[in-house]
């Protein structure tokens, strides 16, 4: 057949393209999340600055991509799965972009507190936590790329680990707050908060993937 | 510059789009077509001119009233066409009374009621064939049926050669034409109108009476009038069923007697007169033809007028 994928071949291609670009954007954000963790742990200001700078590109791509999805909606009258896909993609883009902002927030915190040393316990907790968060985010992107409906429920569980680690981090910080000084302690607790949110955003992404595929959100109501 | 650029450069485009040669073949073709139309029209003109000019002596010497009102005769000096004129009209009315209701009803059955069965198909094919049967064969039918077989009823006094026999023969002759033209008119009524009527709960007859017939009426009318014109001009069948071309009395008699009596008709008289050797009958025949053409013009003109009138009103 001349049109291997039927009459809306090009439309499908447009959707695929938007998905691919979104995953690519996610990869950029993931990269930033990983770099900011590294910067935090190794106290590297230059990396932090690079992260902040990279976000400019992310924001620009996000805006362009969001408009692209919007234009597809305006021009293709999607329904059913296609509409779920496009509406969810808009949301997913936002979640990804927010995650990018959170990475930047971390980086900015770092630039504010130049030169510090982390107590080893906190250092290791922070490392585990940010690895977890990045992992969850990574999994969300993979679920998105593969349109894997099962990821929504799975990531909800994986995110619990991030939340636990954040909790542990808070406790550790509260214990050591005197050693580190109040400012650094507050800054670190913020970082915990940001990583927790990145995990949440990742879960939202995965839940929207489930919605795209099945038309329903996994058990837990979405967006909460 | 490559070919694509050549194609799009303004001056080469301009050259390509400009007329190169005159289209002689096309012009010649137009001339030929127009010529055939002109020739056809010229023939008609000649015919009318010949006939009318040939008839002038009669009008000059005798006048319309006298010519039409006089009895038929073998003497060109006094011969008129009264019996033929009267007979033609009588035949027309009789034919109309016989053929129109039957034909229209048959067409309604075939178009509106009949399902597409083998029987219906046979009837339809049959009717189309009947319309193509030469008129003289109808004359034979009339001769065998109405003159010979039923002569006792159709014209006991005249060996069956009566108005009834002639009228019935012409009636049968035009019946298939009436059916076909009516059926055509009915078919031209959009199905959507029928569906609209049936959709609001009309019975078949209500649908036909209120919607199909009113819409088809102009077409039916035109078709039937034209077929009457055809009947009016027919000579051959009447020859066979005994149209009279010499004097006979049309004295006062009641309707039945008239119908059972002898008859003549203008076309028959044209035939008869045109074969007469006397030079005087040439002009008389021409005059007779002029009368016929006028009657025909009235008939067909009415039909065409009706059609043009209604065509504007009802779109499909």
């Amino acid at each position: 057949m001349h049109h291997p994928e039927g009459a809306r071949h090009r439309f499908s291609e447009a959707l695929d393209g938007a998905l691919r670009s979104t995953v690519e954007l996610g990869a950029l954000v993931l990269d930033n999340i990983r770099r900011v963790s590294e910067a935090l742990l190794e106290n590297r200001l230059d990396t932090a600055r690079a992260v902040i700078e990279a976000d400019g590109e992310i924001d620009a791509k996000y805006s362009a991509l969001e408009y692209r999805v919007f234009e597809i909606m305006a021009r293709q009258q999607p329904v059913a799965g296609d509409l779920r896909f496009l509406v969810s993609l808009t949301r997913i883009l936002y979640e990804i972009e927010r995650s990018g902002d959170l990475a930047v927030n971390c980086a900015k915190g770092l630039t504010r507190r130049d030169g510090y040393t982390l107590p080893p316990a906190i250092h290791s907790l922070l490392a585990r936590m940010s690895r977890s968060a990045a992992d969850v985010f990574h999994q969300a992107l993979e679920a998105l790329a593969a349109l894997d409906a099962s990821a929504g429920a799975r990531l909800n569980v994986a995110d619990d680990e991030v939340d636990d680690l954040v909790g542990m981090l808070y406790t550790a910080i509260a214990e050591r707050s005197d050693d580190m000084g109040f400012d650094l302690a507050v800054e670190l607790s913020r970082v915990g908060r940001y990583m927790e949110r990145i995990g949440d955003h990742a879960v939202n992404v995965a839940e929207h993937v489930t919605f795209i595929v099945t038309g329903e959100f996994p058990e837990e109501p979405a967006g909460v | 510059m490559n070919a694509a650029a050549m194609r799009t450069a303004p001056d080469s485009v301009a050259r390509a789009l400009t007329t190169r040669r005159r289209d002689f073949k096309g012009t010649l073709f137009t001339v030929v077509l127009l010529g055939s139309l002109v020739v056809a029209m010229a023939i008609l003109g000649t015919l009318l001119f010949t006939v009318i000019s040939g008839s002038l002596p009669v009008w000059r010497s005798r006048g319309v009233g006298e010519f039409v009102g006089s009895q038929m005769s073998a003497d060109p000096e006094v011969a008129g066409i009264w019996q033929a004129f009267y007979g033609s009209l009588l035949l027309m009315v009789f034919t109309a009374v016989i053929a129109l209701p039957t034909g229209i009803a048959a067409a309604i059955y075939l178009e509106e009621y009949a399902s597409d069965t083998r029987f219906t198909r046979i009837v339809n094919a049959n009717i189309r064939n009947l319309a193509g049967v030469p008129s003289i064969v109808y004359g034979l039918l009339g001769l065998a049926l109405f003159v010979k077989l039923l002569g006792g009823i159709t014209g006991p006094e005249v060996h069956g050669r009566s108005v009834i026999a002639g009228g019935l023969t012409l009636g049968l002759l035009v019946l298939p034409i009436v059916i076909i033209t009516t059926a055509e008119a009915l078919r031209a009524v959009p199905t959507s109108i029928r569906e609209g009527a049936v959709g609001v709960g009309a019975t078949p007859w209500q649908t036909i009476r209120h919607h199909v017939l009113p819409v088809a009426a102009p077409g039916v009318l035109t078709g039937t009038i034209l077929s009457l014109g055809r009947a009016f001009g027919e000579a051959a069948p009447l020859l066979l069923v005994g149209g009279i071309t010499t004097f006979f009395s049309t004295g006062d008699s009641n309707l039945i007697e008239t119908l059972q009596g002898r008859f003549s008709a203008m076309p028959v008289l044209v035939f008869s007169w045109s074969r007469l050797p006397q030079e005087g009958f040439r002009a008389l025949t021409a005059a007779l033809i002029v009368v016929m053409l006028i009657v025909l013009l009235l008939i067909n003109g009415t039909a065409i007028f009706l059609r043009n009138r209604f065509e504007k009103g009802v779109r499909t």
């Binding site: - | 020739v39 004359g139 035939f271």
Partner: protein, 315 residues
């Protein structure tokens, strides 16, 4: 949930849906009436065939068959050479087609493809009026104008006062409007969009007419020609008036002399139908000829219809 009230309401609906018996009966009678009318046509054709076959059979079974192949058609002398009539019929119909086909087709093509709407509105009715001219008129025209004025001028004395050529031309003129009218209808019936498609491809008016419109209407064009031929074969009065040969005719292919067609022969027999009994079977020969004519036209009509249908099916 089924209360009594609901049940009766339901019955009402069912009863209502059964309709009014009187109305249903009336509709049935109306239908029967129309059926009766349609059946008449069958009766007529049966009657035609029956009346023809009966007498024709008498003729065939009583006439010496060799008499059907002789020097000419002289029924009152017992000579029934059918080929004479066939030759005459074909001659007249052929001449008629030579006249009618080019003029009719040309006029139709001009009217439908070239003429402005105003011209068409003016000329189409004229052609229709022309179609209504009775055949006796054309006979008279052929006898009193074509032969003496036209043919004598061309052929001189070689042409007789009664001749087949004039008859053929007369029949041709008679069928021009038929050809023109049917063809024009067929051409007009070709959808405008086909013409537009052709013009859109850069076709000229002539190309569009000849290569798109005419082929698309070919079934109608052919039908008009066959119809005209059939009409020419069945035409009586023009020949009877213009071709002479009242009593009979020798076998001949010469269009300049008098001659006889099947129809004209029947008319000739009929004029003096009192005298038809002049010979034993002259009267019956009338029916024999009628049957032949019926057969020939039937075949022509069926052929034309077959042809038209085949062309239609193809596209």
């Amino acid at each position: 949930m089924e209360t009594h009230g609901e049940e009766s309401a339901m019955q009402t609906i069912e009863e209502q849906l059964r309709g009014v018996p009187a109305r249903i009966r009336r509709e049935r009678w109306i239908r029967r009436f129309f059926f009766g009318a349609a059946a008449t046509s069958v009766v007529i054709s049966v009657a035609i065939v029956a009346s023809l076959v009966g007498e024709a059979w008498t003729f065939i079974s009583n006439v010496d068959l060799p008499l059907l192949r002789s020097i000419g058609w002289f029924p009152r002398r017992g000579l029934y050479d059918i080929s004479t009539l066939f030759a005459g019929t074909i001659l007249v119909a052929g001449i008629a087609m030579l006249v009618a086909a080019p003029l009719g087709l040309g006029s139709a093509l001009y009217l439908s493809e070239y003429a402005s709407p105003r011209t068409r509105r003016l000329l189409k009715p004229v052609i229709e009026v022309l179609a209504g001219i009775p055949s006796v008129v054309l006979g008279f025209f052929a006898l009193t104008f074509i032969t003496p004025t036209v043919l004598k001028a061309v052929f001189g004395d070689a042409v007789g006062g009664f001749n087949m050529l004039a008859a053929g031309i007369g029949v041709g003129i008679l069928t021009i409007p038929l050809v023109a009218s049917v063809t024009e209808d067929a051409l007009r019936a070709v959808p405008r969009v086909l013409r537009e498609a052709s013009y859109g491809l850069g076709a000229s008016r002539m190309t569009t007419s000849v290569r798109v419109v005419v082929p698309a209407a070919v079934s109608g064009v052919v039908a008009s020609l066959i119809l005209a031929f059939s009409r020419a074969v069945g035409e009586t009065m023009v020949v009877a008036i213009a071709a002479g040969a009242t009593g009979g005719s020798l076998f001949s292919w010469d269009p300049l002399t008098n001659g006889q067609t099947m129809t004209a022969a029947m008319a000739a027999l009929a004029i003096g139908s009192d005298r038809v009994r002049g010979d034993d079977y002259a009267f019956q020969s009338l029916f024999f000829l009628g049957l032949l004519l019926f057969g020939v036209t039937l075949i022509l009509n069926v052929t034309s219809e077959r042809f038209v249908r085949r062309v239609r099916q193809k596209y």
